[in-house]
């Protein structure tokens, strides 16, 4: 992305906003899907963008309006746009083969749907590998009512993991050799280091244990070699947000990556998380947060000093980082931290630590308050301390984030020893639905074969699967059991995912629920949207490799909804 194309994107967004001023409650927008050249500064690649650029524009909607969005496909292949996190009639959801047939080359499709929510969301192509190839943008919806927090200015901070290879090539390479992109494997030199540190016996038995499973403790990022971008800017490009000291700045973090989780921090500033996945949460102040693929967190920061602050987002596997700057004036920079040590998966992440599930259940019940009966403060980060390196440290943790397997090598810690956001901290500011017991539970085991790069649900990949059938009006409790060694950000379209973190009525309302290796996580869904929907892991290549389901909601006012939402074009 060049600076000029970012600007162009910005002006386009402004233009779109201006187009909104016509009818009081109808926004009209148009988007084109185009082949674009993405110049990251490090490499140039052919990709897919919107309105001639990648990232696409920021679409600004208003809660309560009805939007009309005409999408024209200028590609020589089919395309689609999915409005990630938006609650809308299923025909408008933009998933080819589920919502509609897609948009053929040279054709147009007009989306029309009411905006019934507020907050930060995003949109992306749901066709082939267009999203990893650059077809993504942000959505900001102004609320009807005043928000339970205050800010002086706001910025979209959209992260992505641009890769020099095309999505289809990446997928083929992973299928051919699942460790194709893993340049963090343990080597002979590591072996000697470990022998020095831990002794020959321990090292050999460790290597044998992993070798027996034919799995790798370094298998945290299937895809390495990417360049993290913030709003299309590389770390060199240094995307900069301006502020006046003392102002409250709202940062709308959107992880639009194909495959990469990020740990985000701004050294010197605390971040107060006020929204998760577009929904207000009770404000929680943290030093650092991990954002799963396709998740969204809105935070408020208040830089008081007249100096620059670095916005630093390390990939979970510590192979790369995104970097931007918050500064009072353009051109200012602050120190850029080093990447922290590589994490290693442990046997706990393999699901070998029995009781990890029980641990989750307990955590779910007890909630995630850090209050101890004796009044001591539990400071996870301080307990964990030190290097990220593996099981030994991890095992010693007294109280870890319950959303990671006990002894997990992935459990995050704040770089400054302070507070790291946990799913347990998220509490809905206002419940969206009355709290009630779920009518039934559906178990979804997240499964896969790393060697063959086949990802599946309950051992069955999408191509061989039957749809999940839900009944309009029920409240379903989904039980995710992650039997793989990877984290899976599960995304249900069309209906909210109420994450059970033990907060009962105040369980947070999300659209992506990340399930760490070796853990069981519950979420509940009020089945209030008729039609058929996609439900999948949001890691692009996992979804493509089969960790994907069609959900069919039976019953409900489907006739009216279907009629209302009848395809207008395409």
């Amino acid at each position: 992305m060049t600076a000029s194309s970012i600007l162009r994107g910005g002006w386009l967004a402004l233009g779109l906003s201006a187009a909104l001023s016509g009818a009081a409650s109808a926004g009209e927008y148009s988007l084109t899907v185009d082949r674009v050249t993405i110049d990251t500064g490090d490499f140039r690649k052919s990709g897919v963008g919107f309105n001639g650029s990648s990232p696409g524009p920021v679409l600004r909607f208003r809660e309560g309006e009805e939007v009309t969005i005409e999408v024209t496909n200028n590609l020589s292949e089919p395309t689609s746009i999915h409005w990630h996190g938006l609650i809308l009639p299923f025909r408008q959801d933009g998933v080819p083969g589920i919502s509609y047939p897609g948009i053929g080359p040279g054709e147009s499709f007009t989306y029309r749907f009411p905006i019934v929510q507020a907050g930060t969301y995003w949109f992306h192509s749901h066709s082939a590998f267009q999203e990893p190839d650059g077809a993504y943008g942000a959505i900001v919806i102004e609320p009807e009512e005043r928000e339970p927090f205050r800010y002086d200015r706001d910025y979209v901070v959209q992260l992505t993991d641009a890769h020099p290879h095309s999505g289809s090539r990446i997928f083929r390479n992973l299928k051919m050799s699942s460790d194709y992109y893993n340049r963090k494997q343990r080597t002979l030199l590591d072996f000697f280091d470990d022998v020095d540190e831990r002794g020959l016996d321990a090292t050999v038995s460790d290597r044998m244990a992993w070798g027996e499973m034919r799995m790798m403790p370094t298998d945290i990022e299937d895809l390495q070699g990417f360049l993290p971008l913030i709003n299309g800017k590389s770390p060199e490009g240094n995307w900069t947000a301006l502020f006046t000291p003392g102002e409250r700045v709202r940062l709308r973090f959107i992880n639009a990556s194909a495959m990469t989780y990020f740990d985000i921090r701004i050294p010197g500033l605390e971040m107060t998380v006020v929204q998760a996945d577009g929904n207000n949460v009770r404000p929680v102040t943290v030093d650092e947060l991990r954002i799963a693929v396709a998740e969204i967190y809105d935070v408020i920061v208040r830089p008081r000093e007249d100096k620059a602050y670095t916005l630093f987002a390390e990939s979970m596997g510590r192979t790369a980082y995104a970097r931007g700057t918050l500064a009072p004036r353009p051109g200012m920079t602050a120190d850029v931290p080093d990447l922290r040590a590589d994490p290693l998966l442990t046997m706990a992440d393999m699901g070998m630590a029995h009781g990890a599930h029980a641990g989750m259940e307990t955590a779910g019940m007890a909630g995630a308050t850090h209050t101890m009966p004796d009044g001591t403060v539990m400071d996870n980060a301080a307990m964990q301390g030190g290097r990220d390196h593996g099981a030994q440290d991890g095992m010693a943790m007294a109280k870890a984030d319950p959303f990671y397997a006990a002894g997990s090598g992935l459990a995050p810690k704040a770089a400054n020893g302070g507070k790291m956001l946990s799913y347990g901290d998220l509490k809905a500011q206002k419940p969206l639905y009355p709290h009630r017991p779920a009518t039934r539970e559906i178990e979804l085991r997240l499964t896969g074969n790393m060697e063959r790069y086949i990802w599946s649900v309950n051992g069955v990949k999408y191509a061989d699967s039957e749809p999940i059938r839900l009944i309009y009006g029920e409240r379903v409790r989904f039980k995710f059991v992650n039997e793989t060694m990877m984290s899976h950000p599960m995304h249900l379209h069309g209906m909210w995912s109420i994450l059970d973190n033990g907060s009962g009525q105040w369980n947070p309302i999300k659209h992506v629920v990340s399930v760490s290796p070796g853990t069981t996580v519950f979420m509940e869904t009020e089945v209030d949207a008729p039609g058929q929907w996609a439900f999948h892991c949001h890691l692009a290549y996992h979804a493509e490799a089969g960790m994907f389901r069609k959900v069919v909601v039976e019953g409900g006012p489907s006739d009216e909804r279907a009629a209302l939402a009848a395809p207008a074009g395409g």
Partner: protein, 235 residues
């Protein structure tokens, strides 16, 4: 169960994907993987040699064209040229069953074999092939390979190939139960991703028992040690 999946997959593969969602129709995947593409030299001989797999398929099945050759530069002739067409289907998480045919060149009688085998990744990361070649002159072949990462780009790859013929095949200088062993070690460097990984190494070949006797009788060497330079290719 397995065969019906295979049938479905084969049927599905013939359908051209239209405007469908992700993963709705599994795409056909293909790839080429050459473990050896090299120049072999010792004071007596200079050879070109290759060993590659090219595949097309899906999760449930793959068609693999496997080719192995040794071309003697001085003779401008192949000392060995085998081509196999192998159909693979998973039988476990890490292993595939293989069925196919093998055609050897140069021509001659009995140069076509049926192939039955398994191919996969054994515990501790050994890549294994075990094939039974079915013909009038049947044989078995065991192949193993290991990738030892010295660094994340420098790899030492020892390999071993063991052929055991069950019958005499005089035209090819083979005696029943006179095995051929080929082993080598190659130190490669991933130059461009894993697309091109040049290497240097050694390759050693030796025949035993009756086959060795035949070689001696013909005045040929029973073994050969070569210095090799070449590249691995994966795309």
């Amino acid at each position: 169960m397995r065969s019906s999946g295979l049938f479905r997959a084969l049927a599905g593969a013939t359908v051209v994907a239209g405007l469908v969602g992700p993963a709705a129709a599994e795409p056909l995947l293909w790839g080429v993987r050459a473990e050896q593409l090299e120049y072999r030299v010792n004071p007596d001989d200079q050879l070109f040699a290759w060993e590659f797999d090219a595949f097309l398929g899906q999760d449930a099945w793959r068609v693999v064209w496997r080719s192995e050759a040794e071309y003697v530069i001085e003779d401008t002739a192949f000392e060995r040229l085998e081509n196999q067409l192998r159909l693979q289907t998973p039988i476990s998480d890490f292993f595939d069953a293989v069925a196919g045919i093998r055609v050897d060149t140069p021509d001659g009688p009995n140069r076509v074999f049926g192939v039955l085998g398994v191919h996969g990744l054994a515990p501790q990361w050994f890549e294994l092939d075990a094939d039974l070649f079915i013909a009038e002159d049947p044989a078995v072949r065991l192949e193993g390979e290991y990738e030892l990462l010295v660094t994340n780009r420098v790899t030492l790859i020892p390999n071993l190939e063991f052929d055991l013929p069950f019958t005499d095949d005089p035209e090819r200088g083979i005696s029943a139960l006179g095995p051929r062993l080929e082993t080598g070690a190659r130190l490669s460097y991933d130059l461009v991703d894993r697309l091109i990984s040049p290497y240097v190494g050694v390759n050693y070949e030796r025949v035993f028992a009756g086959t060795a006797d035949r070689a001696r009788f013909e005045g040929e060497d029973v073994d050969g040690l070569f210095f090799v330079v070449g590249t691995r290719v994966m795309f």
